[in-house]
């Protein structure tokens, strides 16, 4: 299933989220099970499946990481269930350092500021990886696709860190 086709969008990383959302609403309405309450069971089943696809597709395309994963999947590179490890020492050292900073946040004088600074560092780095990912996906050569996959793996670590920071914030400030 190519979700870009489903939403009539060009297969590219930079998409118009407004258009995606508008088309999602239209398709979700068109395939909504309530509309087929009186239809035959075969048609009902088909529309339920279609509706589920529309929902899945929207979730996948909305998020930049899963969107990039989906693009690579259409190009024959499967990342979703991979068990390959990353061994880029420099990158991982930085990850370790950030994790240590996150861990020490609660012992800082101003943990809120400490976490905000950390999140902003991570944001800058994530942006750089996303930019590079976008360029490589546009290039669409075999080499570029493999490099894109490695940028995407790094972005997943960044996303995880961002999530951990949010969790820490919730814990510290009981939001």
């Amino acid at each position: 299933m190519n979700f870009f086709e489903l939403f009539a969008l060009p297969v590219q990383f930079e998409i118009d989220l407004g258009t995606l959302s508008t088309r999602y609403k239209t398709l979700a309405q068109l395939t909504h099970p309530d509309k087929f309450a009186n239809a035959g069971s075969a048609e009902k089943l088909m529309m339920v499946q279609k509706n589920a696809q529309v929902n899945d597709g929207y979730q996948v395309l909305k998020n930049p990481i899963t969107r990039a994963e989906h693009i690579l999947e259409t190009r024959g590179i499967e990342l979703k269930h991979e068990q390959q490890t990353v061994q880029d020492t420099e990158f991982l050292m930085q990850q370790m350092e950030w994790r240590e900073q996150l861990e020490s946040a609660q012992h800082q004088n101003d943990p809120e500021q400490h976490l905000a600074d950390l999140d902003s560092d991570i944001g800058v780095q994530s942006k750089a990886h996303t930019q590079r990912l976008s360029e490589l996906l546009n290039e669409d050569s075999e080499e570029a696709n493999h490099l894109a996959a490695s940028e995407l793996r790094k972005l997943k670590f960044m996303a995880k860190l961002h999530k951990e920071i949010e969790l820490q914030e919730e814990k510290l400030f009981d939001i």
């Binding site: 490890t85 991982l92 050292m93 990850q95 370790m96 793996r153 996303a159 995880k160």
Partner: protein, 127 residues
């Protein structure tokens, strides 16, 4: 999902947490990460001149299974030669800790950490 008793034991009382000076020539450092879950693992081995692992330390940011896998590995590698250590398979780790299929990647991470550390040792001592 329930963790096995062995995972909980290693998670609650992790063995050999910490690190050595990575610039020490007898210290081998292996850094690995799992993109699927964002776990990061550092395994360090202190290797004697005749290639025997005298001590091991780890630092892991990840789930209980990742911490247990690295903790277990630090116990297993001590006293082994580096060649014996690289023969430790992720399946041995997964079996010992009774890891469920969704956590197999944690044992792969630990196996790859040993390999990365041994490679670091070899490249440090190639001259």
């Amino acid at each position: 999902m329930a963790y096995s008793e062995k995972v909980i034991d290693h998670y609650e009382n992790p063995r050999n947490v910490g690190g050595f000076d990575k610039n020490d020539p007898s210290v081998a450092t292996g850094m690995v990460g799992a993109p699927a879950c964002g776990d990061v693992m550092k395994l360090q081995l202190k290797v004697s001149e005749n290639g025997v692992i005298e001590d091991a330390k780890f630092k892991t940011y990840g789930c209980g299974s990742a911490i247990a896998s690295s903790s277990l590995v630090t116990e297993w590698v001590k006293g082994k030669t580096i060649d014996e250590a690289v023969s430790i398979k992720n399946t041995d780790i997964a079996e010992e800790l009774a890891l469920p299929p969704v956590k197999i990647h944690c044992s792969i991470l630990a196996e790859d950490a040993i390999k990365a550390a041994v490679e670091d040792y070899k490249s440090k001592n190639s001259n």
